[in-house]
């Protein structure tokens, strides 16, 4: 039903996000990379919800909506934590405060 290009994109986006998490030290960018990974999974879930013998399956859509709320909450929380850390240590990466 759904073209094969969407699940492949989901997998590649996940890989790109993983690369970002592993290589970016700057916390905000690492956060963006984590969100990219989450979006990739959301894309995969929605792709699996289309088609099927019983019509569109609403369960993955509901899961994605829940996931979006959770991802937004954790992102907002993480941004405050990053700013708090910045005020305390003036650092924006964990690597630069390892040695204190």
């Amino acid at each position: 039903m759904t073209p094969i290009v969407f699940p492949v994109t989901a997998a590649l986006l996940f890989a790109i996000g993983l690369y970002g998490v592993l290589t970016r030290a700057r916390l905000i960018q690492r956060l963006l990379a984590v969100n990219l990974m989450a979006s990739a999974i959301f894309l995969f879930l929605i792709v699996t919800s289309t088609g099927g013998p019983h019509g569109p399956d609403p369960v993955p859509q509901a899961m994605v909506l829940t996931g979006i709320v959770v991802a937004l909450s954790t992102m907002a929380y993480a941004l405050v934590l990053i700013r708090h850390l910045r005020v305390l240590t003036r650092a924006e990466t964990l690597e630069s405060i390892v040695d204190d």
Binding site: L32, S39, V87
Partner: protein
């Protein structure tokens, strides 16, 4: 024509994804992430997931972007540690092994995601349960009834994010994210007057039709929060260190109503979260209204990065 569209869409997503991860400056990464949100909304529309598209439109285009731009601003207004000034970003992990690992994971996942079997007991059971349900929007059936517990707990995550953030804000000298320029008020005022009724109406519309058409408490609440964010950006609401009883009541009312409703399930059913027979639609609506108010308040306060807000009505 559709395959061309799909391919272009996917290439765009991948290009943006790479740009977000590889961008050398914070601001560029954030702007790319906002564009990524827009393109994701288009993708959800293309894949016929209107509920998700609505949520992504409000979050991607509105709240997440403003949050990230704010954090970006906070980072820029501080010169950073001596080691970071001017110097390159310290490396987390060497690039080569990370790239090899990611490629491997990507290839394996691509193969898996294309070959998964699909179907199964849940889709079948849901397809049978949907037609007789008192709500007509399939996604709302899942979110409010079949998996209502998830929705309850996702709201707990949102509240907890605020409680944790509030603990940090209370005793840290975090400046308000945005200090509106006074001269701009002149220009933003008409926009606010225009947008306030429209956004309120839209939020109510999305909530009201949520039972039977795409939309629901979260989308409506996020829309209210977008309005709150706009009020803060234009200086009509200012962060405050104290939260009044009204704000606190709004914060908890959604979860309180939902959890009390969940307990009541024990009286008219065998398990918590059961809907009363015959009054399902009304109960769902009451829960949704309360959730919308709480979600809107919590997201607005999370953006403010302060425990409370106070109106500023100077012209």
């Amino acid at each position: 024509m559709l395959p061309v569209f799909d391919t272009m869409l996917c290439l765009g997503l991948l290009w943006l994804g790479w740009g977000i991860v590889a961008s050398t400056t914070l601001f560029r990464g954030v702007v790319l992430f906002m564009v990524f949100g827009l393109l994701m909304a288009v993708t959800w529309v293309r894949l016929s997931a209107p509920d998700v598209a609505l949520a992504e439109a409000v979050i991607g285009a509105g709240i997440a972007g403003a949050l990230l731009l704010g954090a970006c601003k906070a980072m820029l207004s501080d010169p950073g540690t001596p080691a970071e000034q001017g110097g390159p970003e310290p490396a987390a992990l060497p690039r080569l092994p990370a790239a090899a690992l990611s490629l491997l994971v990507g290839a394996a996942l691509a193969w898996l995601m294309v070959t998964v079997r699909g179907g199964g007991p849940v889709p079948e059971a849901v397809a049978i349960a949907l037609p007789t349900h008192f709500l007509h929007n399939p996604v709302s059936v899942i979110l409010l009834d079949l998996r209502g517990y998830d929705t309850l707990m996702e709201t707990v995550v949102l509240l907890l994010a605020f409680l944790g953030a509030r603990a940090m804000m209370r005793h840290s000298e975090l400046d308000p994210l945005f200090t509106p320029v006074a001269t701009h008020r002149h220009y933003t005022m008409p926009l606010i007057t225009l947008l306030t009724p429209i956004l309120l109406l839209l939020a109510l519309h999305i909530l009201w039709t949520g039972g039977n058409a795409p939309g629901g408490a979260f989308q409506a609440g996020a829309l209210l929060a977008a309005l709150g964010v706009m009020y803060q950006l234009t200086g009509h609401l200012r962060p405050s260190r104290e939260s009044g009883p009204g704000v606190r009541a709004l914060l908890v009312c959604g979860l309180l109503v939902f959890s009390l409703f969940a307990c009541l399930g024990l009286t008219w059913g065998d398990a918590p979260l059961t809907y009363p027979r015959g009054a399902g639609y009304v109960s769902a609506l009451v829960v949704e209204i309360a959730l919308m108010l709480s979600i809107g308040t919590t997201l607005t306060l999370l953006f403010a990065a302060h425990p409370g807000l106070k109106p500023d009505l100077r012209q």
